[in-house]
Amino acid sequence: MSNLHTRYEYGGDEFVFVQLSEEMSLEANFKGIAITRKLKEKNIEGILDICPSNASYMVRVDPDVFHPDDLIKELKAIEESVKDLDDITISSRLVDVPVWFEDPWTHEAVMRFRDRHQDPESTDLEYSARINGYASKEEFIDALTRAPYLVSMIGFVPGLPWCFQIVPREKQIEVPKYVRPRTFTPERTFGFGGAFSVIYPVQGAGGYQMYGIAPAPIYQKEQTLPDFRDSMVFPKQGDIFRYRSITKEEYEEIRSQVEAGEFVYRKKEFSFTPSDVLADPEKFSEMVMGRLYHD
């Protein structure tokens, strides 16, 4: 099943970077999750950071305690032990993430930076719908929200989730980043770039296409909301997020819950095996939607 070609590389004297695949795939991501979780369980002295990413991962060591070459030996052995991904169970959470598409804040930012976009005559949604072969932006929003996403990596800034939709390759949406990055993106913008959707945790520069805004935070410095009690950051790699299109009224209702410190994400604990997903992504997605909203 594996057409992946793994490369082990030094990142100076403290990091080992492992590229599982040049291209993004659910398979590469699951492999990374499996390896990094096994490595974590081993609790090896001298390992400072284990950072899984989309189709690669990175480990930081104290080389005085654990030599990078010994780490690579260890990682190769772990990779060999998870070769088939069959006996791997990923513990995860299913999460409902509301998004208000075409909201006034991201729309204003979309219009402000038209001169940095591939197509200054359309909005980001209209442009993305067209290049992905959808007849209207409504159909495109439907495709964005119909199937859930695997949180495939956290990073860039604290809490930003890269999300990869669980659909067959031919249905995967792909869009370019802005021609020149924007200097401003509203906090909680729902965006898309390459094969990934994201939510921007904080206001800042950015290059992804902007489609809408999430009413609930994914990063909260003050840690007042129940979902943030243990960490400023809500998403975890391996989570499954479903982006749900909401109205202005629901947006405002959730905002007032957030401001009152009462908002809690709708979520379910959930375990799955990579082969469940890879065998039939659409069937898996349907099952997940049922579990999240009906069970």
């Binding site: 100076g12 284990i50 950072c51 990175m58 930081r60 860039f156 604290p158």
Partner: protein, 322 residues
């Protein structure tokens, strides 16, 4: 307490950093020049992870509200107490009411001020380091401002006499052109053979965009190997499927202006990384100023580890001496 009369350009509270949080996208922050940071703490008898002030380019003006021992290490931003020059890399005694100020920066870029007991700010995820991008750690998550009152902690572990100094050969010499050692790798396969040579051969100039997040360099354009875009990688030849960025890793967006990512950098993204600055030279990188010249020199992992041991031996000699 230390009262801030003038804040300087960017004076922040830093310790060893917030380590182990890459997986949530949190960079380590922490002192940029760990050698100078460590020596500063040694000279006042502090715990090795006590927080200090990192002073960049333009020194602050600070009023000591009580007497204490202090030390100043790192780049030469010449310090003065009550207008009189005082030495760096030495344990100094200040009295209540003394004012510390600085002349224009000469060599290096960052000076470290350690005070007996360390700077006392709340621990955020096990560190006192400032991470200004999201406003956490340090003094209210930001650089110091005029009027701030900076509290002093109790992280002193040892009494060090005023006048204690370190032997001159252990004091780094800073210049205006720098050889920075790197381990080539990560996604260097994306660069053409010729461009990798160019990267290692030419002299790069540090641009004004050089801060705790990263240092951007001007020089020649680098080229990437032509390819069919891998799914998810993005359309520019310098793009890869988004991945993690080690501290010290070097990326070249669109082949223009290599960026060395430093302690407050983004933790990941979609640009090919081509090499990583070795840990001992991150300290030296921290002392490079805008407009200065950098030459990247390729070394092996074993050479990098050897350089790391040399730094550790120097620090051990200093620790034994004080």
């Amino acid at each position: 307490m230390i009262k801030v009369i003038k804040p300087g350009l960017q004076t922040t509270v830093q310790d060893n950093g917030r380590i182990g949080l890459y997986e949530i996208g949190m960079p380590p922050s922490g002192a940029m020049d760990k050698y100078a940071f460590t020596v500063a703490n040694l000279l006042v008898g502090n715990h090795p992870n006590a927080a200090v002030l990192e002073i960049t380019y333009l020194g602050p003006e600070l009023l000591f509200e009580r007497g204490m021992r202090i030390s100043l290490t790192g780049g030469q931003i010449p310090p003065k107490i009550n207008g009189v020059s005082v030495p760096m890399w030495e344990t100094l005694e200040v009295k209540a009411g003394d004012v510390l100020s600085f002349d224009f920066v000469q060599m290096g870029a960052r000076t470290y001020l350690a005070v007996e007991g360390g700077i006392d700010v709340p621990l955020v995820m096990n560190s006192r380091s400032t991470y200004t991008l999201i406003g956490i750690g340090g003094f209210e998550g930001r650089a110091l401002a005029a009027g701030d009152e900076v509290p002093i902690g109790e992280m002193k572990v040892k009494d060090v006499k005023a006048g204690t100094r370190i032997s001159p050969e252990l004091i780094p010499v800073y210049s205006k052109s720098h050889e920075i050692r790197v381990v080539v790798g990560l996604c260097s396969y994306r660069l053409t053979e010729e461009s990798l040579q160019t990267f290692l051969e030419i002299e790069w100039t540090v641009t004004p965009e050089a801060n705790r997040i990263g240092y951007r360099h001007k020089g020649e354009r680098l080229r990437f190997v032509e390819r069919e875009q891998p799914f998810g990688a993005g359309s520019n030849p310098s793009n890869v499927t988004d991945l993690g960025y080690p501290i010290g890793s070097i990326q070249v967006p669109d082949g223009v202006e290599p960026i060395v990512l430093l302690h407050d950098a983004v933790t990941g993204g979609g640009y090919a990384t081509i090499a990583t600055v070795i840990s001992s030279d991150l300290n030296r990188m921290a002392q490079i100023k805008t407009n200065e010249k950098v030459h990247f020199v390729a070394v092996t992992l074993e050479q990098a580890l050897q350089a790391r041991r040399e730094v550790q031996e120097k620090l051990k000699r200093i620790a034994d001496a004080v």
